[in-house]
Amino acid sequence: MQPYKALDYLDLDSEFSQDERMVRDTVRAWVSDRFLPVVTEHFEAGTFPHHLTPELAELGVFGPNLPEEYGCAGLNNVAYGLICQELERGDSGLRSYVSVQGSLVMYPIFAWGSDEQKKHWLPKLAAGKAIGSFGLTEPDFGSNPGGMASRARKDGDSWILNGRKMWITNGTIADVSVVWARAEDGIRGFLVEKGMPGFSAPEQKHKWSLRASVTSELVLEDVRVKEATHMLPKAKGLKCPLGCLTQARYGIAWGALGAALACFDEALSYSKSRIVFDKPLAAYQIPQKKLADMGTQITLGQLMALRMGRLKDEGRLQPHHVNMGKRNNVHIALEIARTCRDMLGANGISLEYQVGRHMTNLESVYTYEGTHDIHTLAIGEALTGIPAYRVG
């Protein structure tokens, strides 16, 4: 295999600081050396390479933009975005693993947890000694989480939780799950630990996408948790889980570019060496048009991601910006993966190459963290001021 060469058509490299480039290059090298050699077998087996968790923690990719006092690296958000990009260059499952841990578990504990909860959980999660999951989606409520059926009932100094969550990344393996449920005063967030009576998290099998990632159901049957330790005191209302999603979606907007870059790199080098009708595939106009279109889309996506990152570091990034970034970058990544898959011919459907794996993975990424169409509606609302989520 040729060494990976990331497309950088407009010399965006010089827009990054030396630290940002060093972070990116470190994660890139790790993915090439340690992750890519094992991803295919894990994808085929439908397993996540758990043996790499200590190395990921050692690198510092869990919650890297959270403060150092919790054992995190305290990086800026552009560096965090670049980490997501490089991880997803490996596999969307790897980026999901890290996104969930950092943006959907560590972030809510950091933002809405008590000091004790932060001190207890954040260093463990940063060190990979505990794994987390985020339970919002339910069998009957995905795009509309506000309709959730999971219930929380107060009982003395405890809460009793009942309900079912579906499609929860890392659920089965999680030591702690951030579970959202409706209480009398609105939606609240709870920390549910593995092994608590009444709580189980069976794995959802037979996925043909994001196979190198654990996806689970969370079943809560009269799970009793202490308010002081297991409820996030400051998390009140749907805006809290949505706020976590904004963090994660920001990372996905970068991550999807990583998958697109991997496919593009593979298809570009393949097209230069594959001889069809006596000439390299890359010498024909149709493939060149595909490459020109894809290169342009990736470059536009990179500009959008970088702009979002700088806005986020200035504290000016708005959720509707992230709607556009996630929607666009995942969409172009999926289209690029499909085109690259095609350009590799039959080899494109083989797991010996990366394009097919990225293509099937991106179908999940297109749906989770707000489907493509839900983001369309969010942008539509930002532009018109008129929400169009409901009929009538």
């Binding site: 630290d19 060093m22 050692e58 690198l59 510092g60 890297p64 150092e68 995190c72 305290g74 990086l75």
Partner: protein, 252 residues
């Protein structure tokens, strides 16, 4: 223990070499740089030695352009304590001896117990600076080390691999070790390390010009490889293949 690791900024492995217009070296435009492979091992061994001993300081030292700060910061991110950059406008045309003299002058001031270098820099491939440095500093030196142990009483045990087999040496501090592949597995610069490196000092020192004794006359790319030839397919091709390997390629 005070330890110095010498490193060099070299063209990245993927560089497509082009000869500069003056015909005497590499065209610098478009070249990306990296820490030389064996120097990474030297830095790793320096950090591990400090960790094993439990105290001390690791100083990374390079002679190079101002841009070599990038490679130094990478070493700081991996765990070195401070860095010194001998800024040399003529770095790309330096010969081994003048490089060694300039490094030796600085190392002499620092007076470390142990100096590590890579066995060879991956650009010029001379494997000369390490032993020259040891000579100029009057230190014991073992080259191409694959295993190093720190014994009590200022003694070291070093193993080197040669064509003859494994050679074992004992030597006393202060010493210089050149590092071979296999000595260790260099760590990644962790993200916390990258943040910590921002607070570590990189000292830039202008160097005195020491004249070169060797100059490049001309540099040329190797001739293009001849196109391959398919001698046949399957087991039936084996005799023809052996014949070609024996007669044409003369490798068996």
């Amino acid at each position: 223990m005070k330890i110095v690791a010498c490193i060099k900024r070299v063209p990245a492995t993927e560089t497509q070499a082009k000869i500069a217009a003056n015909g005497k070296g590499l065209e610098p435009a478009g070249v990306e740089y990296m820490l030389s492979f064996y120097d990474e091992i030297a830095v790793e061994e320096a950090i591990r030695t400090k960790e094993r001993v439990g105290s001390g300081e690791v100083i990374v030292l390079t002679l190079g352009p101002a841009e070599a700060r990038k490679e130094l910061v990478e070493c700081l991110a991996k765990g070195a304590d401070r860095a010194i950059l001998l800024v040399d406008p003529a770095w790309s045309s330096r010969d081994s001896l003048s490089t060694a003299k300039l490094l030796a002058a600085k190392i002499g001031e620092l007076a470390p117990d142990l100096v590590f270098t890579g066995r060879v820099a991956t650009d010029t491939d001379s494997a000369a600076v390490g032993p020259m440095l040891a000579t100029l500093l009057g230190r014991g030196c073992v080259t191409d080390v694959v295993k190093l142990t720190i014994e009590g009483g200022g003694k070291l045990k070093a193993e080197r691999e040669s064509e003859a087999g494994i050679e074992m040496y004992e030597l006393a501090l202060p010493a210089l070790i050149t590092c071979q592949k296999g000595l260790n597995e260099p760590r990644y610069a962790g993200l916390k390390g990258i943040m910590a490196a921002k607070k570590k000092p990189v000292e830039e020192v202008a160097v005195q010009d020491v004249p070169n004794q060797i100059a490049v006359e001309t540099a040329q790319l190797p001739p293009a490889r001849k196109e391959g030839r398919i001698v046949g397919t399957g087991a039936a091709a084996v005799p023809a293949l052996l014949e070609a390997l024996r007669k044409e390629a003369q490798v068996v």
